[in-house]
Symmetry: C2
Subunit: 140 residues, 2 copies
Amino acid sequence: MLQNKYRRDNLAVVLRGHGINPTHQRIEIAHAIFSRGEHLSADRILALVNDRASETSKATVYNTLNLFLEKKLIREVIVDPNKVFYDPNTDPHHHFYNVDTGELTDIDARNIRVTGLPPLPRGMATEGVDIIVRIRSTAA
Amino acid sequence: MLQNKYRRDNLAVVLRGHGINPTHQRIEIAHAIFSRGEHLSADRILALVNDRASETSKATVYNTLNLFLEKKLIREVIVDPNKVFYDPNTDPHHHFYNVDTGELTDIDARNIRVTGLPPLPRGMATEGVDIIVRIRSTAA
DNA sequence: CACCGAATTAGACAGAGTCCAAACGTTGGT
DNA sequence: ACCAACGTTTGGACTCTGTCTAATTCGGTG
């Protein structure tokens, strides 16, 4: 089944399941993100989608990514001052961030415990906790 | 002593202590950041410094902030997709991030423990761990 | 006061992301 | 088959953050 999971007809079903009208462009963008499971930036996604033929415009990529975000189909990861990365993994997880290469790696959140956090300010609720472990090669 | 800590002559001493030549502009920028102890963006700092009289240019603000970063006089906080925040607090600490207002609040790191992190990839060392607790007002 | 290196500057530039009004595609009704 | 209506896409202009560069200014030293 694995090789079917990211087929375009299945992606259409996934999009509908999240209340998204599966247009041609949206399916191509979803395909680019999900079929490789990496952390991609918007410009990288635009390049991937238009690799063979011109499929979408920049505006549509941004529109679509924001729509996917809103519908919780993907997450955004903010670690690089220059650009946002989009994360196809919506399970609770954190990240290793290689400060030299910019590479992002997932850390499963199931075993992670954070203790000692102070109480939240009055009338506030936690939306989520992001942990970023900045790493660097020891071979200087 | 508290009211003297952020006086310009004392800031000059602090800058020298970090190996920074204390010029007029650098002292004004340091004053803007440290005297209010907030998390400020570059454009906000530029505006503050030039509030009364024209003290510095945009280029100098960016040059200086990067110099301060390099000399570990301040830290940068990356949570907002649009801009970097500069943090006058260099003690180990984490942040509450109010996703509605963009407001940042410090969390002292002394009591915080994180368990369950996987081993680092081979030949890698931890540079730092950033925890961001995203919060939102419950009064929708 | 002339010199020299360091610091500052204005303004051009680059890149990410948004906005807008026009064009396009799909659907449903007649 | 046609049309209307709505949602989607699009190019291009625009904004904003941050960098770069080449020219100028500043501060200290002999």
